[in-house]
């Protein structure tokens, strides 16, 4: 897990890099600004359900692979 929001752990950066995408390219595919992707990756912002589903669709994985709740 990368840098995380206290309410949500995320693997977005690893998945993005594995897919060979820049933040800009991912943001274009997800119809959001690059700063949104950057903010999610750095644990500054928790994405909406729609955005989380869009991103998981882009990477062809489950939402749970990208995001998970903290243990405590």
């Amino acid at each position: 897990m990368g840098k995380n929001h206290y309410k949500l752990l995320n693997n977005l950066e690893q998945y993005r890099k594995k897919a060979g995408l820049t933040q800009e390219e991912l943001s274009n595919e997800a119809d959001v600004s690059r700063k949104s992707i950057n903010a999610i990756e750095n644990g500054i912002y928790v994405p909406s359900t729609v955005l989380a589903l869009k991103i998981s669709k882009i990477f062809n994985c489950k939402v749970e692979d990208l995001f998970e709740l903290p243990k405590n």
Binding site: D31, V32, S33, R34, K35, S36, N38, Y45
Partner: protein
Amino acid sequence: MNFYIRFLMLFLCGVVQVFFAIHLLLDLGILQLPSDLMFIPGILIILTSTVLVLSYYYGNEGINNKLYDEYAADRFYRLGNLGYALNGIGLFIIFSIQDYQNWDIQIASNMILQIAAYAWLVFGVLLIWFAIGDYRESQHG
């Protein structure tokens, strides 16, 4: 509409509001205030809001997905809340410090100017804050 134009419009609104607030608070004497010139900050806000609303509903969808995405909305919401909170506290203080024993039209008039100056200052600073942060993040964030 793009990030730069939005930055320019919001920054201009913010700077004008801060200028009018400081002018009233420090009585700078550059403009003849109070006067009809005090409509300028409000007219700028109405024009800017109109342009932003029109661009939201009728602008290019691809650009709007980025300009008006959920992170920008979250940022705007948090700064707006801060503005309302500061305005509430400020209004409470302004109402509390008035001399109601010797209340007259001059004191009432001064109070209205204090309220206007305070609201302009708070929302002007927040508009500048949002505009700079929004544009900087769109480039380097």
